[in-house]
Amino acid sequence: MKEISELNLPEDIRYTKTHEWAKKIGKTIKVGLTDYAQNQLGDIVFVELPKIGESFSKGDEFGNVESVKAVSEIYMPVGGEVVAVNQELESTPELVNQNPYSEGWLIELKPTHPAEWDALLDKAAYLVELKG
C-alpha cells in the first residue's frame, strides 16, 4: 500500500472526508474516488452506480464499490441530479484503480445548491484528514 507521501492528489479538484473527489466541468461536477480510496480498497472488481436522472442530497450514498477485500459505499460530495454515469466501469472496474481521476470517474452531476461546493476540502485540508 502507498504511503501518504506517495499518493497522487491533484490541486485542481476538491475532496471529501469520505474519500471522493469532485471536479467542476462547466456547470456540472464530475465525481470519483481518490487515489487514497482506491489504494486502500485494493483491486476493485465491481462498481454499482445510480441511474441517470436520480437525485441525491449531499452526503447520501449513491452507489458502492466492491474490491477483493470489502464492499464500500460511495457518498455524494454535494447534492444534485445525476446527468452521466461512467458506463465503462461495468466491464472494466479496474479503471478506478488505474486512473482514479480520469478514466475511472464515477458520475457527473448537476448540483442543486452550488454553494455546497465551498464546503469541500482542498488538497491541503484533505491531507490533514489523511494524516489524522
Partner: protein, 485 residues
C-alpha cells in the same frame, strides 16, 4: 517435531469426471430386468443427462485425489476467526449415523418418530439451560437464518402490541450478516460505532434509542473478540423505550457454561450449533441456527413446536401468533444429533472447560504475538484476537501476503480484512481443541513470517509456494468469473 511442518509432496493432477472414463464403463451392476418393458410416450422422453461412464475405481481415485488438495480441521490448525473451526469429535458422526436417526423419514407420523422428537425436545432443553432462556426453536437452518428468524420475532412482538417500528441499532463490531438480516425483514439498520475500548458504550446507545427503534442486534463477544461489558446497561436503555435486545450468539464458544445471556438482558439469541456445538461446517456440512427467547416472545416462535404430552412427543401447529414455518420439515436434524452428542459427551463441566480453554488459547496467542504484530486493542480478549498488518506495511507486505504465506507453514490462514473496524485485520480464533504445542508452532510460524516480511518480502508476495495451487488471481476471478464447468 522440529522440522517445518509445511513440506512439498506428490500430489496428483486430476481432470474433471467428464474428462475421465470410457463409453460403456460402469461402476455398478443392475439386476436383470424380469418384467416386460413398456416404453414411455416419445413426447415424454428426451436424451438423458450427459453423465460420464466411470468405474468405481475411477470415481474413488477422483475424489481421493481432490481430497488431498484440501486442508481441513482434521489436517491441521484452522484458526479462522469468527468461524470456530474446532475439531469435531468422531463420536458425533457415529451417533448421527445410527439407523434410527439416519434413516428416519420426515413423513413418518409422530407416533413413529418418538426418538427423533425426544432428541429435539431434549436438545431444546439443553439450549434453554445454556442460555437461560424460556423457549427454543431448532428450525433455523444456519446462523443468518437464525438472525432473520430473530428479526421476524421482534417484528411480530411489536405488531402484537400495535407499536410497529422501523429501525434496528447495529454496532460496527457486529457480524456482517446482521444488517442484512434486519434489512431483509424490512428494518432500517442504524450503524453505531464502538467506543475507544472496542466495545459498545451504554451512553452512545441511549443517545440514539427511540420509540421508532425496534431493538438492537449485539454480537457478544463482538467481532474484535471483546466482551461487551456494558450490555446489561445497554439492555436497560433499550427496554426503557420498549425495544428488544437481540444477541448474535455465534461467538458463544467463549461463554457457554460461564454465564447465561438472559442475565445480561438479552431477549432473543441465536446459537450456531455448527460452531459452538461442534458439527462440521464450511463445506463439511450444513449448519443449524436455533433461536432461544424469553417467555413474552415464545408465542411467535416458528411452528411446528415440539410438545411433550402424556402419550409422548408431538409436533404442534396450534400457535396462532407464530411467525409460521421457516424451514421444510424440522430443520437440519443430522446437525442436531451431532450437537446433542457433543453436549452429552462434554457435560456441563466439560462445556465450561471448553469455553475457558478457548479464551485461554486466544489470549496466549495474543500475548505471544503482540510484540511482533500490531494489536489494535491491547486488552484481555475472549475466544479470538485481532491483529493488523500495520507493523509490516513499510515493507509493502499486507495482511493477504501474511495469510498466504501461512499456508506454506502448514496452517490454514486466519480470517482477514474482517472486522472492518480494523484496517488490514488478521482475526485469529485458535479454539479450545488446539494443544499448547500446536499453538507454539503457530506462533513460531507467524514470527518467522514477520522476519521474512522484513528480509525477504518477495517470499510473502508470491506465497504460497508449496501448495498444489499457488497464488490465485482473486481479482480476475471476481472480475471475469467462469461459472460453468
Amino acid at each position: 517435531m522440529n522440522e517445518k511442518r509445511g513440506a512439498s509432496g506428490l500430489i496428483l493432477n486430476e481432470p474433471l469426471l467428464w474428462e475421465k472414463g470410457s463409453t460403456g464403463r460402469c461402476g455398478i451392476s443392475i439386476p436383470k430386468n424380469d418384467v416386460k418393458t413398456s416404453p414411455l410416450d416419445k413426447n415424454m422422453t428426451r436424451e438423458g443427462p450427459g453423465f460420464p461412464d466411470l468405474s468405481e475405481v475411477d470415481v474413488i481415485r477422483h475424489y481421493t485425489r481432490l481430497s488431498q488438495w484440501n486442508f481441513g480441521v482434521d489436517t491441521g490448525m484452522y484458526p479462522l476467526g469468527s468461524c470456530t473451526m474446532k475439531y469435531n469429535p468422531k463420536t458425533n458422526e457415529r451417533q448421527a449415523s445410527l439407523k434410527g436417526f439416519n434413516e428416519s423419514h420426515p413423513f413418518l407420523p409422530d407416533a413413529l418418530s418418538q426418538g427423533a422428537l425426544e432428541l429435539i425436545y431434549s436438545l431444546e432443553n439443553f439450549l434453554k439451560e445454556i442460555t437461560g432462556m424460556d423457549a427454543v426453536s431448532l428450525q433455523p437452518a444456519a446462523g443468518a437464518h437464525g438472525e432473520l428468524t430473530g428479526m421476524l420475532l421482534i417484528h411480530a412482538y411489536h405488531r402484537a402490541r400495535e407499536n410497529q417500528r422501523s429501525k434496528i441499532i447495529i454496532p460496527d463490531t457486529a457480524h456482517g450478516t446482521n444488517p442484512a438480516s434486519a434489512a431483509l425483514c424490512g428494518y432500517q439498520p442504524v450503524n453505531i460505532q464502538s467506543g475507544e475500548k472496542g466495545i459498545l458504550t451504554a451512553k452512545s446507545v441511549a443517545a440514539i434509542m427511540d420509540g421508532d427503534t425496534a431493538g438492537i442486534m449485539v454480537t457478544n463477544p463482538n467481532t474484535l473478540g471483546l466482551y461487551e461489558e456494558e450490555l446489561p446497561e445497554i439492555a436497560e436503555h433499550i427496554h426503557e423505550k420498549g425495544g428488544l435486545v437481540y444477541c448474535d450468539g455465534a461467538n458463544m464458544n467463549a461463554l457457554m457454561g460461564i454465564l447465561k445471556v438472559r442475565d445480561l438482558g438479552v431477549d432473543i439469541i441465536h446459537l450456531n450449533l455448527h460452531k459452538t456445538f461442534s458439527t462440521p461446517h464450511g463445506g463439511g456440512g450444513p449448519g443449524a441456527g436455533p433461536v432461544a427467547c424469553t417467555k413474552n416472545i415464545e408465542p411467535y416462535l416458528p411452528i411446528p413446536r415440539i410438545v411433550k404430552k402424556d402419550n409422548g412427543f408431538r409436533l404442534d401447529e396450534h400457535h396462532p401468533e407464530s411467525i409460521g414455518r421457516i424451514m421444510t420439515f424440522y430443520g437440519h436434524f443430522g446437525v442436531m444429533v451431532k450437537a446433542y452428542s457433543y453436549i452429552l459427551s462434554l457435560g456441563a463441566e466439560g462445556l465450561k472447560k471448553a469455553s475457558r480453554y478457548a479464551v485461554l488459547n486466544a489470549n496466549y496467542i495474543k500475548e505471544k504475538l503482540k510484540d511482533t504484530y500490531h494489536l489494535p486493542y491491547d486488552r484481555p480478549c475472549m475466544h479470538e484476537c485481532v491483529f493488523s498488518d500495520e507493523n509490516h506495511r513499510s515493507y509493502h507486505v499486507s495482511t493477504l501476503d501474511i495469510a498466504k504465506r501461512l499456508i506454506d507453514y502448514g496452517f490454514h490462514p486466519p480470517t482477514i480484512y474482517f472486522p472492518l473496524v480494523v484496517s488490514g485485520a488478521i482475526m485469529i480464533e485458535p479454539t479450545e481443541t488446539e494443544s499448547k504445542e500446536e499453538l507454539d508452532q503457530f506462533v513460531e510460524a507467524m514470527k518467522a513470517i514477520s522476519d521474512e516480511a522484513r528480509e525477504h518480502p518477495e517470499y510473502l508476495k508470491n506465497a504460497p509456494h508449496l501448495s498444489k495451487v499457488k497464488r490465485l488471481d482473486e481479482t480476475a476471478a471476481a472480475r471475469k468469473p467462469c461459472l460453468c464447468g
